[in-house]
């Protein structure tokens, strides 16, 4: 009989386990001693500071479709909606060996009319737009920085936002830590914002003169590399809004008369976002899938599902078609109009709190130019997206959709340079 068969299977398994234990103990002893050596304790950095400064500028033109004739109330001043021109500038740069900083400036110009209130026209809701063309400008600035440890990163940000009737400042801080040879990353952060609104023409329209609100937010997330080509990420975020949360420029029709938009002074929001990224090497493309579930204590719940395909072309260009589906349920106190005042006094006819679904689709094209004139790399991109909201697109049946639902076209151009 051969030696092989003389030893029983159990004996062989036992010998194998003994070898494994001995081998493991050798390995553990070696690794343990190796880690005691100077500079051997750390693995690769979780993330590293930016390698080079880069800057990008983008321009977006956003045109909402006019209110359909059938949705407008009799005597409605204009069916024109918003047109927004947005300029965005971003600059980021390594600062020290372990840190980097970034600056973001946004300037936006809005012209057009916005939904003012909804009238009960023979039982059917009809939208009334605000009157003469509004022209508003908004400027935002945000400064942020990151500091990198061996397996962790700490970030902080501070920003302001101003409009002629509005001022807000915000602070944020976040951190992340990596494990498993950088395959798993845990992140968390907090944020605070303080907003003050002083509506224009307050006296004329009987609006509040000045109001404030604060936002407190916290998030936690987990990112995990799966295999060699995919990454999945999930995060939970909570925000508390406290203060004046109504829209001072909107009214609601209650029993035939118009009263100011009045929402609760507190709102608790929870959002759960999951992302999946997968790279397909054979076709040089990546799939991005995002799903977001949201709910708050105003009873608004929403689902967002987004898919995008990043297709590389000839190594210097990319084509990115994308698709997004959105569905939300209404805020508990929302109604296009009210027969009588609700007991708690909360009223709003804002279409953004109504039940509806939306579909957006678009495509973006990018072209890259490397090493010109010397070490600079450029990316130029242009994109278009079409968005349409409709009560029929919602997941749950919508019996009466808001007449103010919007559709828009978005055109964008962006130039990015790395130096």
């Amino acid at each position: 009989m051969s030696r092989q068969t003389r030893r029983s299977r159990e004996e062989r398994a036992r010998a194998r386990r003994r070898r494994l234990r001995r081998g493991r103990s050798l390995l553990q002893a070696l690794v343990g001693s190796a880690l005691a050596l100077p500079g051997m304790g750390g693995g690769a950095r979780a993330d590293s500071p930016l390698e080079r400064p880069s800057s990008d500028y983008s321009f977006r033109f956003y045109a909402e479709e006019p209110l359909p004739q059938g949705k407008a109330a009799a005597g409605n001043p204009t069916r024109e909606r918003y047109e927004i021109l947005m300029h965005q500038f971003h600059l980021e740069s390594p600062a020290t060996e372990r840190s980097d900083v970034a600056l973001d400036i946004v300037h936006e110009t809005m012209t057009g009319a916005s939904p003012w209130f909804v009238r009960n026209q023979g039982g059917t809701p009809a939208q009334v737009m605000s009157g003469a063309t509004i022209q508003e400008e908004r400027t935002d600035a945000l400064v942020s920085g990151n500091y990198y440890f061996d397996r962790a990163k700490l970030g902080a940000s501070a920003g302001i936002s101003t409009e002629n009737d509005y001022f807000s400042w915000n602070l944020g801080s976040s951190g992340e830590m990596s494990f498993n040879d950088k395959n798993t990353t845990l992140s968390a952060g907090v944020g605070f914002s303080d907003d003050t609104i002083e509506p224009t023409e307050a006296a004329l329209f009987g609006r509040i003169e000045k109001a404030r609100k604060n936002g407190y937010s916290v998030f936690a997330g987990l990112s995990q590399v799966i295999g060699r080509k995919s990454v999945t990420q999930t995060s939970l975020s909570y925000k508390l809004n406290d203060g004046y949360l109504s829209d001072p420029y909107k009214l609601a029709e209650v029993g035939g008369a118009n009263v100011p938009d009045n929402r609760p002074r507190e709102r608790h929001q929870l959002a759960w976002l999951t992302r999946y990224r997968r790279h397909y090497e054979s076709v040089a493309a990546s799939l991005h899938l995002d799903y977001r579930y949201y709910f708050d204590d105003w009873q608004v719940t929403s689902h967002t599902l987004e898919a995008a395909w990043y297709q590389s072309l000839f190594g210097v260009a990319r084509l990115i078609p994308s698709f997004r589906y959105y569905s939300q349920s209404q805020a508990e106190f929302y109604s296009p109009f009210y027969a009588s005042a609700p007991a708690d006094g909360f009223v709003s006819s804002d279409y953004r709190l109504s039940p509806y679904g939306a579909i957006a689709y678009g495509v973006k094209a990018e072209a890259r130019l490397e090493d010109w004139p010397r070490h600079w790399d450029w990316t130029l991109s242009a994109g278009w997206e079409r968005y349409a909201a409709d009560g029929d697109l919602a997941l749950k049946r919508v019996s009466v959709e808001s007449p103010g639902l919007v559709s828009f076209d978005l055109f964008s151009v962006q130039l990015k340079g790395s130096f």
């Binding site: 070696l30 690794v31 001693s33 051997m40 690769a44 060996e97």
Partner: protein, 313 residues
């Protein structure tokens, strides 16, 4: 994707190379720091220099007073002690004196009694090591750091690059490789492991993202005497060459550990070497004298592309 910056130099008796990704200034500083560290270790542990720590240790042999060593050397000695203990005496840094008996260029075996005369000077257990003081009790005893400082230096060089902010690159010290991080697009470094019997062929392609790989083989040094191959890897317990695998490669998070694993594997008889490597639980490749290839990395066998002593990135 722009190719990495390459820095070639010679150190520890071998051709070395750094391949680093990053902005030119940062990469240059990282390379300078890594190179400085490699040269520092080379000078400190060299057995050829009169002013090295190794020379000072040898000078203290047999004096009874011992020598106090710095924290880095102390930790290296702790490592060597653990490796000696766990490998059953196969990894032994006191075995350098065997060099006096074996002349690889001569084609001649040691004279009768030469090895027997050296054996009393060999054995890590014969040292007295009480951190931070080391005693070499007999005159003529030696410590040979050459067997693992090169791998340690590869790990240290990679660490210097990381500390300098370079997160992607590869350190190659004469075939001992430590990856700092993958290519900018996330892809791993593809390393070819040379076939010991046919040096112009690569045996397998190994992917390295942030770990290290060390290899040992009997093909480069050693000698033939009367038709018998004598490997240059000597067994400290007997003073004679190992009769083990033809070549071993091991992947581990640290090059130091990978190197120790390959050395210890080479000092096992072929079948025992296979079992030892399997028991370690690290990705490895083992070429036996009969030409057969085993190990978890043998699945990445290459059918015939040109070899690389250094990575085929």
């Amino acid at each position: 994707m722009r190719p990495p910056e390459r820095f070639r130099f010679r150190a520890m008796g071998s051709p070395c190379e750094l391949r680093l990704y990053g902005p030119p200034g940062r990469v240059a500083r990282a390379a300078e720091s890594a190179l400085r560290e490699v040269r520092r270790l080379e000078a400190k542990y060299s057995r050829f220099r009169d002013d090295s720590l190794t020379a000072a240790i040898h000078a203290s042999a047999g004096t009874g007073s011992g020598i106090e060593v710095d924290p880095e050397t102390a930790s290296l000695l702790d490592y060597a002690a653990a490796a000696w203990r766990e490998s059953g005496g196969r990894f032994d840094i006191t075995s350098g004196v065997l060099r006096r008996a074996w002349d690889w260029k001569s084609g001649r075996l040691p004279a009768a009694g030469q090895i027997a005369a050296l054996l009393p000077l060999i054995g890590f257990d014969k040292l007295r090591w009480e951190r931070p003081r080391l005693w070499l009790p007999r005159a003529g005893m030696e410590l040979d750091f050459g067997g693992f400082v090169k791998e340690y230096a590869a790990d240290r060089a990679a660490g210097c690059c990381r500390e300098a902010g370079v997160a992607r690159g590869l350190v190659d010290l004469g075939g001992d490789l430590a990856a700092i991080g993958p290519h900018p697009d996330g892809s791993a470094w593809r390393v070819g492991v040379r076939d010991p019997r046919r040096p112009e062929r690569a045996l397998a392609q190994v992917e390295l993202r942030s770990g290290a790989i060390a290899s040992s083989g009997d093909y480069e040094r050693g000698m033939w005497v009367d038709g018998v191959r004598y490997s240059h890897i000597l067994d400290p317990r007997t003073g004679w060459p190992a009769r083990g695998p033809a070549a071993v490669s091991v992947v581990a998070p640290h090059c130091l550990v990978a190197g120790t694993a390959t050395t210890v594997a080479m000092l096992h008889p072929p079948a025992a070497a296979r079992r030892f490597l399997r028991g370690l639980g690290l990705p490895h490749l083992c070429v036996l004298p009969d030409g057969s290839v085993t190990g978890s990395l043998s699945a990445h066998r290459d059918s015939g592309s040109p070899p690389a002593r250094s990575p085929a990135a």
